[in-house]
Symmetry: C2
Subunit: 230 residues, 2 copies
DNA sequence: TGACTTAGTGTAGCGATTACACTATCGTCC
DNA sequence: GGACGATAGTGTAATCGCTACACTAAGTCA
């Protein structure tokens, strides 16, 4: 392939790929797009794409995510950089992987032009993935569960207001194990990061639950749920 | 600049930069090289260099480290990827940063051709650094101290055999605070990862210390010194 | 109004972490 | 060879945090 961009030494292409997680139907789910072009046409892959010449890496990840899925403004964190020489059959591609979390409510996903389709898949039943995206997702999942043990990352799955039962459900799904209600609440109520809104949520024929809210002032507090250490 | 390597879209250059830490003179120290060429000629920088076309990223980091400093076979871990569009004045460069640890004894450092000089610098008194290498080192240091809390990374600073006092000194230097001797030894002796060699080390006019050794079988055990949580 | 469903609450036991000070063993110097 | 100096090595009691565990409260709906 020849073109107008020439260098004295070979340069790899650089892309970002984004692992977007959410919790839906009481399951951890991942956003995948069906590839519209070669290679791996028709297979599922992570959203992502090539780095623009004057664009920061974080910016690239956010842009690709918005372009391919319509999602914007979510928690986005650099994960790891994958660079095996043969990971893309077309040319040498170094991919900076990101991982992102979406609250369960913001699930509207739009497939864009260069992606034939975009859909959520349960993490426990992923289809075969293009390139080394399976490996990338495995690492993202590992990071996600590890961060439960030392950061307040679980809150990123929640909307602005939530009940303590909502929060507990998140932890139970991510940990894959039930959590004691009283111990969990004792712990959660001790966190500086959340506060009572004074409101309640009525959702069915039972006692309404208090609604809590995140305090922006403590956004980056390290929060470790002790039961997450297992 | 024109050359034989042409692409349809612009490609950034990709490099690796390595933050090498050791402990020397009761201080955390970092390996820097003095730049022999432009830009930033004569300034201190992290060892590192351009990715070869058929080389994995990890491989590139290890190779550059060996070429520029003579160090090989040490603990090497990918840290983060830096890609600000203006971080290199010559052209767009995306750098995959690594961090590496060397035992205090293996300190022989050799400056190679393209690096005018290589030397250890106390982390607490770093000279001005080229590019965004100051930022990279700050992140590496953060990762290093964070990992003390949940991994056995401190052992990477030790030679094959060591005394418990050696180990304690590592923790005290990295944590920047004294550690209770009895509690520390109780903890260390409970680790499955170390074993008594039966030998002793005599180093001065005082009681000799038992020598311990790492068990290879437990190389990747997670080890968290409780005092490291502060 | 009774049944159902989820929200919300306290305590006692256990295990882990912490604080704390003296004895042991070697070399050296007189 | 005895005293000194220097580092190695050792145990216990108090505290704190985590865990296990079962019932009452407040709504809806039939």
């Amino acid at each position: 392939m020849t073109g107008p961009y020439c260098y004295r030494y070979p340069h790899p292409a650089v892309t970002t790929d984004i692992c977007v997680f959410t919790i839906r139907d009481a399951q951890l789910q991942v956003l995948l797009i069906r590839r519209g072009g070669e290679p791996f046409r028709g297979q599922w892959a992570l959203p992502g794409g090539f780095l623009d010449p004057h664009e920061d890496l974080d910016r690239c990840a956010a842009r690709e995510l918005a372009e391919e899925t319509g999602l914007a403004g979510l928690y986005l964190e650099q994960l790891y950089t994958f660079g095996r020489p043969d990971r893309d059959p077309r040319e040498r591609v170094v991919s900076v992987a990101y991982f992102a979390l979406v609250p369960s409510q913001r699930l509207v996903v739009r497939a864009a032009s260069d992606a034939a389709d975009a859909a959520w898949h349960p993490f426990s039943a992923l289809p075969p993935l293009a390139f080394d995206h399976g490996e990338i997702l495995a690492l993202a999942h590992q990071r996600l569960t590890a961060k439960l043990g030392y950061s307040g990352i679980a809150f990123e799955f929640l909307p602005n207001t939530f009940t303590l039962s909502d929060l507990q459900r998140i932890y139970e799904i991510l940990l894959g194990a039930p959590v004691d209600k009283r111990n969990f609440r004792k712990w959660a109520l001790g966190l500086a990061r959340i506060e009572d809104t004074g409101e309640r949520r009525c959702s069915g024929s039972h006692r309404p639950a208090r609604l809590y809210r995140l305090k922006a002032s403590h956004r980056d507090d390290a929060i470790a749920y002790p039961g997450a250490l297992s």
